[in-house]
Amino acid sequence: MSDYQQYLQERDRIDYLYQKGYKITNIKEDLEGAQIEFQRAEEDKETLHILTAEGRKYFSVRVIQQN
């Protein structure tokens, strides 16, 4: 799978959680990419592991928009 295809999948997963009412609450970046923590209600938490550079750019744009 090309980086671009992988990015499209990551973007879809991020968009899906936003559509469900989640927001990004925490981001941990390390050697493996970024762990993005989403939260909707107190108990509703999800984590996405974003690997691609375009994906990291995309969630950054969403964080700025969310702020």
Partner: protein, 427 residues
């Protein structure tokens, strides 16, 4: 005709093209010949205690048929007595009163030595002084040139001593052989400099002869590091000029030096903050008359742009030179190959496949002819294919419409940081 005259910290010249302190400005004969050709100013080859030079002094780098792409020298400052130089400066200034003559100076870092030489050269009518804190070889081993130019405190102190005595504008010439040239530029400002010039030559060894195993150049089988200049150093010089021009604490004019070979190069330096330029290697390669093309080219450029004075160029591109953290991460360009121009040499494909992002496909068109096509979704816009392409117009780098709003790295990090703070607050 546009106005090409400049005024650099009070030093006036009919155009922005000066000869740099170097072999072309060694004598009155040469400087007068340069002024006759059209040069607006000359920085006289560095005056100081006369030295003894070696035989075999220069070397050049040729690259793929381009002669003198880079130039290396181990020549030192003037080897003639001060009085001889002063007499010729006086005669030259008398003959060319409207041209700028700047005396390059280098003495040991002692107050009385600076005072003595400043008084002597100003008495013969120079328009300004340039302090040589940059020469990287020979003189540096004696505590002068780059040896003092690499120490901000020495730059400041010596500039101050000169300013105690000087009646004419003082330009401090900086060495590039330092991690951050703004440190010494700021020191020059603190010392009271009226202007700075950059860059002096870069420490270098031009080569090693693979048959004799001698250095290039060599002196009786031995070599020593020299100073590198010429077209190859232009990007380094331009960066250093830009760094100083955009530093708010360096608020004095800049004389740009380093690989300036034609009028286009001069415009680049001026757009990046230089008030004028100094030239050496190009004159050594092609002779003084290259200035005719420089003047004509600059004048035509200004006329075509409707710019009345060359001074209106100074610093116009400085605000575009920023830090990586302030670049827009969402800006995107991609390569597009024009197959009607492409000669199918496949250099772009090979470059992309071997050393970049593997996004140029070798395909066949409807008639079975070989074509190259970029998969734009995988192209990162690195420019490599267009750089290696031997045919003008075969590859365009095309801006894509912004999918997302502009976002810099600094903005991204601030937003992510704010997120963490918000979480901390909730906790």
């Amino acid at each position: 005709m546009a106005d090409l005259s400049i005024n650099l910290a009070g030093i006036k010249s009919p155009n922005p093209f000066w000869l740099a302190s170097a072999p072309p400005t060694n004598s009155g004969y040469q400087v007068q010949r340069a002024f006759e050709a059209g040069w607006g100013g000359a920085v006289w080859k560095t005056l100081g205690e006369p030295i003894i030079n070696t035989s075999s002094r220069f070397a050049a780098i040729s690259f793929n048929g381009q002669r003198v792409a880079g130039f290396n020298n181990i020549e030192l400052i003037t080897d003639r007595p001060l009085e001889v130089n002063l007499k010729e400066i006086y005669e030259t200034k008398k003959r060319f009163p409207n041209h700028a003559i700047i005396a390059s100076l280098m003495v040991e870092p002692q107050q009385e030595k600076w005072h003595e030489i400043v008084k002597k050269v100003e008495d013969v009518g120079v328009d300004g002084l340039e302090l040589n804190f940059g020469c990287p070889h020979g003189m540096a081993e004696r505590g002068m040139g780059a040896a003092s130019g690499q120490v901000p405190a020495l730059v400041e102190k010596q500039t101050y001593w000169v300013k105690e005595m000087a009646q004419t504008p003082v330009i401090v010439k900086l060495t590039p052989n330092i991690t951050d040239i703004t440190a010494t530029a700021e020191a020059a400002v603190q010392g009271g400099a009226d202007a700075i010039s950059m860059i002096n030559t870069i420490n270098s060894l031009a080569g090693v002869d693979i048959h004799s195993w001698n250095t290039i150049p060599h002196v009786a089988g031995k070599g020593a590091h020299g100073g590198y200049c010429g077209p190859a150093v232009k990007p380094i010089a331009l960066h250093m000029v830009g760094e100083c021009a955009r530093n708010p604490r360096i608020n004095i004019p800049i004389s740009g030096i380093g690989g300036v070979s034609n009028w286009e190069n001069a415009i680049e330096f001026m757009l990046m903050g230089a008030t004028g330029v100094q030239v050496c290697t190009a004159a050594m390669h092609h002779g003084f008359r290259i200035v005719e093309d420089m003047i004509e080219g600059l004048n035509n450029y200004l006329d075509e742009k409707g710019i009345a004075s060359v001074n209106d160029l100074v610093g116009k591109a400085v605000h575009k030179y920023s830090d990586w953290g302030d670049l827009d991460l969402n800006y995107k360009v991609v390569a597009r190959i024009n197959n009607d121009v492409c000669i199918n040499c496949n250099k772009c494909h090979i470059a992309c496949e071997d050393t970049s992002h593997q996004c140029i496909d070798m395909l066949k068109d409807g008639e079975g002819n070989p074509i190259l096509r970029v998969r734009e979704e995988d192209c990162v816009g690195c420019n490599l294919c267009s750089i290696v392409c031997p045919v003008d117009g075969a590859i365009d780098m095309v801006e894509l419409p912004n999918e997302f709003p502009p976002m810099t790295w600094n903005e991204r990090q601030a937003a992510i940081g704010a997120l963490a703070c918000a979480v901390d607050t909730v906790k």
